[in-house]
Amino acid sequence: MVEWWTYAAEDFVPYSARSYWRLIERHNGAIWPTQVVAIAGGLACLWQVMWPRPIVIRALMVGFAIAWAWIAWAFLLSTYQDLNWAAPYLAAGYFVQAGMLAVVALLAPTPIRSPIGLQRSAGACVLAYAVLFHPLLPLITDRALATSEVVAVVPDPTALATIGFLLSTLHTRTALVLCLLPAMSCVLSAMTQSVLAQTEALLLITGLLVAFFGVAAAWIEGGGRREF
């Protein structure tokens, strides 16, 4: 039996930053111009945060479900698995997340309800970062623009965007359940990026903290009521 508890974080990152970003670059090239559709979907999510309509929110949740399943298959299992033996386990989690999003979007009675202001604002900020600013990180790092990470195409911006969108559009308890796996994905990725000494680690953690404080602040604002 592999004694996992004796392994350090770097043992779970068996590749270099250069190999990883080359992987992203080649993946982007292989699926172009899917990124255009993905960004359009991200902008639609931002639109719904500003002017929510339940039927559209449900449709976008289905869109997120498709994105999670597609990332599991097209990226984690088809590409990332070349670098990391743990990719199938990550993919399993992504498929579960896809299923949960789809079930809630299609079958849950009334998951959608305007959350309290601070939570909605924090969620919107995280969503806006994931859709609009995360893809532009190559401009301020030493990476090529071809390594840009776009929502619904690769894990990190998708996980952040999911958290931001759910927290800003859904009933809090439903949102928190559906945000659990995305948050775990962000933490794992932040650990990976930290081992690779990449700026993205700090940004992922910052996004999670913004979301967390938004929920906490909203809970306080709501007086800690259970129905919150």
């Binding site: 039996m1 004796t6 068996p14 270099s16 080359r22 590409t79 670098l83 033996w85």
Partner: protein, 262 residues
């Protein structure tokens, strides 16, 4: 005699199916073999490194200078099949050395490997650890099992293995392979920009990497060090260390003192 500077593949050769990066790794392997070859070490844990090595060896053609070393890293019941997959990845019918990686299920794998050795399917058998993990278990295995090699972490900043394991290896006639001579590149990175000590020329070193590797190789009980690299110039720099001058004990103390401050 086995060249003292081998070639690791953790991180550096895990490049997936990227043709550009694969060709860079193949160039490193070709240069390694040109420079006298020796141990190339890998593991199923290293992602695509095994297949990249296989690609590089196929590109190199003449692999007479190769001493192939890989590992078993799975539950006890799957060892033999994993060895078969590893052979296919390298394109080899027989390995020079097979090791139980990080002592995973060693109680099951070692008998299997010893059986392979008795049937001529592998030349040598060993076990590995890294980062100073499980040294007590490693010592017990070294005392009780007829292994040929042990692989462990040893570098200028981590000399834990000197306390018991090196002497035990010497007494038992076990070859010692030193992994992480640069701590995944951290040691040379932290020394970058510092002027070399005035005694560097005494050992023929022109870089901190050569001093760090030279320190490892200067221990009398180290058989091979396996620095990993994806650059041909670094490969040649590493190989040059083996042609350097002998270190005296005082220089080892000075190097360890420098590394301890990092």
């Amino acid at each position: 005699m086995l060249p003292s500077v081998g070639l690791g593949s953790w991180i550096t050769f895990n490049v997936g199916d990227d043709p550009n990066l694969r060709n860079e790794c193949a160039a490193v392997i070709a240069a390694f073999l040109q420079e006298g070859g020796g141990v190339i070490d890998s593991s199923p844990m290293y992602g695509s490194a095994q297949s990249v090595i296989g690609y590089g060896l196929a590109q190199a053609g003449n692999t007479q200078a190769l001493f192939s070393a890989d590992k078993v890293w799975t539950d006890g019941s799957n060892g033999a099949s994993q060895v078969g997959e590893t052979q296919a990845a390298w394109g080899l019918e027989r390995f020079d050395l097979l090791q139980v990686h990080n002592l995973v299920d060693w109680q099951a794998h070692l008998p299997m490997l010893f059986d392979m050795k008795s049937r001529g399917m592998v030349r040598y058998v060993g076990v590995t650890t890294s980062h100073g993990r499980r040294h007590d278990d490693l010592e017990r295995i070294m005392r009780t099992q007829p292994i040929d090699f042990v692989q462990l972490t040893y570098n200028a900043a981590d000399q834990e293995a000197e306390k018991r394991l090196m002497q035990l290896a010497h007494d038992r006639g076990i070859g010692v392979i030193a992994n992480r001579p640069f701590q995944r590149g951290r040691l040379p990175e932290r020394l970058r920009g510092r002027p070399l000590p005035d005694w560097a020329a005494e050992v023929g070193a022109t870089s901190w990497a050569q001093l760090l590797l030279g320190f490892v190789l200067s221990h009398p009980d180290i058989t091979v060090a396996i620095p990993a690299t994806s650059r041909v110039d670094h490969l040649r720099e590493n190989k040059a260390v083996a042609r350097g001058q002998t270190w005296n004990p005082d220089l080892r103390v000075r190097m360890a003192a420098i590394a301890s401050d990092l």
